[in-house]
């Protein structure tokens, strides 16, 4: 088998205050896959995500991206390869205009002029936000900000896109539009979510993280229909949603 895009081995991590959040996580994601990362509040999902691009450094174990280990020397290249869209778009959009924000990443990679402009327009086009290019981010709706946040990361042309709760706080139409965008992207996706129908719709494979360990890694349909597993890890399907009666997309 080819080198996995994401290769996490025996990853353990404790926060400086001593709280141990991850206890030996193993995870492999291959090129072109879309994987959902499920788990209750406080399971360690965000902590795991922050290791994938080297913002947190492994206490034990290792993380590699397309064969390149996440170490201090490789940080720039790792951050080009792994694009993280954070939970709150107000944290992600820190520049005064949409354009400046989308430029930020590729400009840090050294792009200027025409090449930079093309990247920015292309990324905004993929999320349908080109018309908002000169607006300040804080005057956009929440759903629009989430889309711009995705564009800021797409502009870096990452090999893998990591989304932390992409559907949270979106109205149903924005939620569906974002799903359409994610489906058209030609990148590997790891999606942290509490929205189980969303995971079912978009990700053929799901991984469950609970109390800092991976407790399941299977087809999303199998995970969601394993009642014992679901109950043991505080995962609940929303009222009226039954994957058994809905054909896999």
């Amino acid at each position: 088998m080819s080198t996995p895009v994401l290769d996490v081995k025996g990853l353990a991590f404790a926060y400086p205050d001593g709280h141990q959040a991850l206890f030996g996580v193993d995870l492999h994601v291959h090129r072109g896959e879309r994987v959902a990362l499920l788990g209750p509040n406080g399971a360690g999902k965000t902590t795991l995500v922050l290791h994938l691009n080297g913002i947190l450094t492994a206490g034990a174990g290792s993380v590699a991206v397309s064969g390149l280990p996440v170490t201090r020397d490789n940080l720039m290249e790792i951050r080009r390869r792994v694009g993280v869209v954070f939970q709150d778009p107000d944290d992600q959009l820190f520049m005064p205009t949409v354009r400046a924000d989308v430029e930020f990443g590729p400009a840090n990679l050294g792009l200027r002029g025409q090449a930079l402009e093309r990247r920015v327009l292309d990324a905004l086009d993929r999320v349908g936000m080109v018309d908002f290019i000169d607006r300040p981010p804080h005057h956009l709706s929440f759903g629009q900000r989430r889309r711009v946040a995705v564009a800021t990361v797409l502009a870096m042309e990452p090999e893998v896109l990591v989304l932390d709760e992409p559907s949270s706080n979106l109205d149903p139409a924005s939620r569906r539009e974002l799903a359409d965008i994610i489906r058209t992207l030609d990148v590997t996706v790891l999606m942290v979510t509490h929205d189980l129908p969303y995971a079912y719709e978009l990700c053929p494979r799901s991984v469950v993280l609970s109390d800092g360990v991976i407790v399941a890694d299977d087809a999303t349909r199998e995970v969601l229909t394993d009642d014992a597993l679901m109950a043991a890890h505080r995962l609940e399907l929303p009222f009226g949603f039954d994957p058994r009666t809905i054909p896999a997309p």
Binding site: L50, N53, I55, M76, R79, R80, G83, V84, F86, D88, D90, D91, Q92, F94, M95, P96, T97, A100, E103, F104, G105, A107, N108, L109, R112, L116, R135, P136, P137, H138, H139, T152, V153, M156
Partner: protein, 253 residues
């Protein structure tokens, strides 16, 4: 689009003054204000010229004069102070009706009012025609230390986020029956301020993470360097140029 994007000073428009690069306007403003401050207080005609210059720039900006005038209230404290000076200052006096006013006091009051008003007006011409983020870009172009520029840039970006957070906290307080009526409300207000500080601090940390995630290494990339044509420098430079000539004439006479 109406009056800008909710920023209180900037007035959206497409005049020649709006289109001047921010750093040109900042240099113009600074030179003009220095010339005004150095003008001898008794050279009254020179102040007339300065006022004319500001008014020309103001009209060229096509910002409605009413909008402009309303924003001059920031000057009120100076006006009050200037009005008091003739009463409290000492020295030879002049009689105005039943009042004995100090002559040096009157002169200082006049100087304070004239210089203050001209300074405020000139700053407002720049502020009403330049978005805050462009002011920041202009300062960067003028080689202000990068760290200061970044701090100001983030202030501009997050001011609305923080005031929004403050407004949400106020709504949360008031919907639970709180009213800031007496000093007994101070502890709640103080804890709101504390909570706001913590929230802003933690947001700062999260923003920093998001910046690192996109390859930030301590310097904001300069993607669109500001440039000014010689013609733009000439147009903008005319105003402080005349002001400086006026100053020289006033000193020489």
């Amino acid at each position: 689009m109406g009056a800008g994007h909710g920023h209180h000073l900037h007035f959206h428009g497409h005049s020649r003054v709006h289109h001047l690069p921010a750093h040109v306007k900042l240099v113009t403003l600074l030179t003009f204000v220095v010339a005004v401050v150095l003008t001898p207080r008794t050279a009254y005609w020179a102040y007339g010229v300065h006022l004319l210059l500001v008014l020309v720039a103001q009209r060229a900006s096509r910002v409605p004069f009413g909008y402009f005038a309303k924003r001059m209230v920031v000057e009120t404290p100076f006006v009050v102070f200037a009005l008091l000076v003739p009463f409290v200052a000492t020295g030879p006096t002049v009689s105005v009706g039943p009042l004995d006013l100090s002559r040096p006091g009157l002169e200082s009051a006049w100087a304070l009012l004239a210089k203050g008003t001209l300074g405020v007006m000139a700053s407002l011409v720049v502020a009403t025609t330049t978005e805050p983020r462009h002011v920041v870009a202009g300062l960067e172009k003028l080689r202000l230390p990068n760290l200061l520029v970044q701090i100001m840039g983030f202030m501009v970006r997050y001011l609305e986020v923080v005031t929004g957070e403050l407004a949400r906290m106020r709504i949360a307080r008031e919907s639970r029956g709180f009213r800031a009526r007496s000093f007994r409300a101070w502890p709640s207000l103080a804890s709101t301020a504390g909570a706001l500080f913590i929230r802003s601090y933690e947001r700062g940390e999260r923003v920093h993470l998001a910046m690192l995630a996109r390859g930030y290494q301590g310097q904001l990339p300069v993607t669109h360097p500001l440039t000014a044509t010689p013609a733009q420098w000439r147009v903008a430079g005319a105003i402080p140029g005349i002001a400086v000539l006026t100053l020289l004439a006033a000193v020489a006479l």
